[in-house]
């Protein structure tokens, strides 16, 4: 039933407005301004790759989208709802933790360091949030969890603890865990940066499948190959601003900005 709901939301969104709208997002740590006005939109079913040197603010921006970091200026909205705040007339009010938690259910996140819960098996990692947060019956959540593990090719490791899995396997479990909440938007924060090179491919394959299944994804990555093959849009960030954006063919193969050119030369 939850699946049906998610597809319904997709269908409605596709016909109407963008899923994510960020306008002039600003964020500073102390006196250091890490985001200097980021504006971008992501349509339902679209895959956007955020590229840029480290320290360019791309991970920070990603974390602002599900309110793990609070923004100091601008607006972010997902599915038409302002993130972290409620708007009444012309004033905005801070949300309480429970409202924020409710909002985050629709936005999945995959971390660079996996962050699986080490005291739970792979399957428990996947089913804990649907059971505890969405109140899905335990049996149903386990069944769904097995389906998701099947989808990332790890059904045989359902009972394994994270410490018994390789990095690539842990990351695929983490993706399944995020999917279990039926998010309308999936955020990836350098999902392959902590992996041994030979394990990167498995994770990217899973992500490609998700992309072709119509999942809306924002991916912070250094994998230019992935961006070229899977992204609908590539955004190049540097120094807290969007330097260049557009289709992968234009940004990656025919970059205009000197900073983009320098970065692409250094990573390719």
């Amino acid at each position: 039933m939850t699946d049906a709901l998610a597809t319904h939301e997709h269908a409605v969104g596709a016909a109407a407005s963008p899923l994510l709208v960020a306008s002039n997002v600003r964020k500073h740590y102390g006196s250091v301004e890490v985001l200097k006005g980021i504006s971008l939109t992501v349509n339902p079913g679209e895959v956007m790759c955020l590229l840029g040197p480290s320290g360019s603010g791309k991970s920070t921006f990603l974390r602002c989208i599900n309110h793990l970091e609070r923004i100091d200026g601008g607006r972010i909205s997902v599915g038409g709802d302002l993130i972290g705040y409620t708007q009444r007339q012309d004033r905005i009010f801070e949300m309480n933790p429970r409202q924020v938690a409710r909002q985050r259910r629709g936005i999945g996140m995959v971390f660079q360091r996996f962050n699986l819960f080490p005291h739970m098996t792979a399957l428990e990692n996947i089913s804990v949030a649907p059971v505890g947060v969405k109140k899905v019956p335990k049996q149903q959540a386990s069944k769904r969890g097995m389906d998701l593990l099947e989808r990332v090719g790890l059904a045989h490791l359902a009972k394994a603890y994270p410490a018994q899995l390789s990095g690539g396997q842990q990351q695929r479990v983490a993706i399944a865990r995020a999917l279990a909440m039926d998010p309308q938007l999936l955020l990836f924060d350098e999902p392959t940066s902590a992996l041994d090179p030979e394990l990167v491919g498995d994770v990217l394959d899973v992500m490609r499948t998700l992309a072709s299944d119509g999942m809306t994804m924002i991916v912070v990555t250094h994998e230019i190959g992935f961006a070229r093959s899977a992204a609908d849009n590539v955004v190049f960030m540097d120094g807290g601003v969007v330097v260049e954006s557009g289709a992968p063919t234009s940004v990656l193969d025919n970059p205009q900005n000197p900073r983009t050119i320098a970065f692409l030369n250094s990573v390719m």
Binding site: N66, L68, P97, R98, A101, R102, Q103, R104, R105, G106, I107, G108, M109, F111, R113, N115, L116, F117, P118, H119, M120, T121, V128, A129, G132, V133, K134, Y161, P162, A163, Q164, A174, R177, A178, M181
Partner: protein, 331 residues
Amino acid sequence: MKQANTLPSREVAAETAAGTAIVGTAEDDVVAVPLRHPWRWVVAAALALGFVALLSSLWSNPNIDHSTIKNYAFHPRILSGIGLTLALTAISMLVSTVLGVLLAVMRLSRNPVMNAFAWLYVWVFRGTPLLIQVVFWGYLGLLYSQISLGLPFTDFTFFSIDTNALVPAFTAGLLAMTLNQAAYSAEIIRGGMLSVDTGQHEAAYSLGMSPAFALFRVVLPQAMRVIIPPMGNETISMLKNTSLLSVIAVLELYTVATQISSQNLRQVELLVVVSCWYLFLTTVLSVPQYYLERHYGRGNARQQTPTPVGRMLSTLRKGGKHHAESKGLQP
């Protein structure tokens, strides 16, 4: 097997023994005569001699009446004292742990009022001697002879009760031990919670978990691994510290013993009885601690090592081979 060259001699012997059983002998296996350790034997003999001499001097001391020790070892009054000691320890530890979690969460919360309260609590209860706190709760009746519930700063009261009736010695003792322990437990639990990686909080929040759900399902279970060992220590301390309640005449083990010895004037004999009991009880308490540590350590080691009991059983079953093999498997 190349690595084995760098290992200390004993482990080389174990490795080769396990190795030969599985892969057979290779030409370059290290088959060396183990290093001798003559001084170990000398020191052990000297210590054993001293220990035996001490025991025999105690045993043959004419001032110790062995029959008193025997008569009181399982005396009903001693046994009832043990019962009360155990009850005090169990209840205090349970309640103080709950309070400790509460205080730790308050201390870590962003709410400045809660934070300050928790800090103040720990400051007071950890900063004053336990003995003084015990006496204080015992003398509560001197401070407030009546305890009543009513509206503050008015004469209206719902009910009023005599303090000594509401707070008998046992309750006063329980209160003293619990409130004091809560301060220590709070700090241990707080440390455990801080040891959990921030990525765990973020993962929990990104799944839409509420702070409370994340605390109980994600953070605390992982903190337990760090919390259990010191809490085991605290439980053992608590068991021994209940003897302080003798100053407010709670009839626990030590109080009972002093009462008996004040009648028969056999102080040392009863101290022997009591010490043996405390030693026995603290030994028994370390068993559940081991299993708790094991339970909360799950998922942390790649391979759970077998319990001592399990190891013994499998040794019996496999005729002693298993031990060497499992040693090789540990990461």
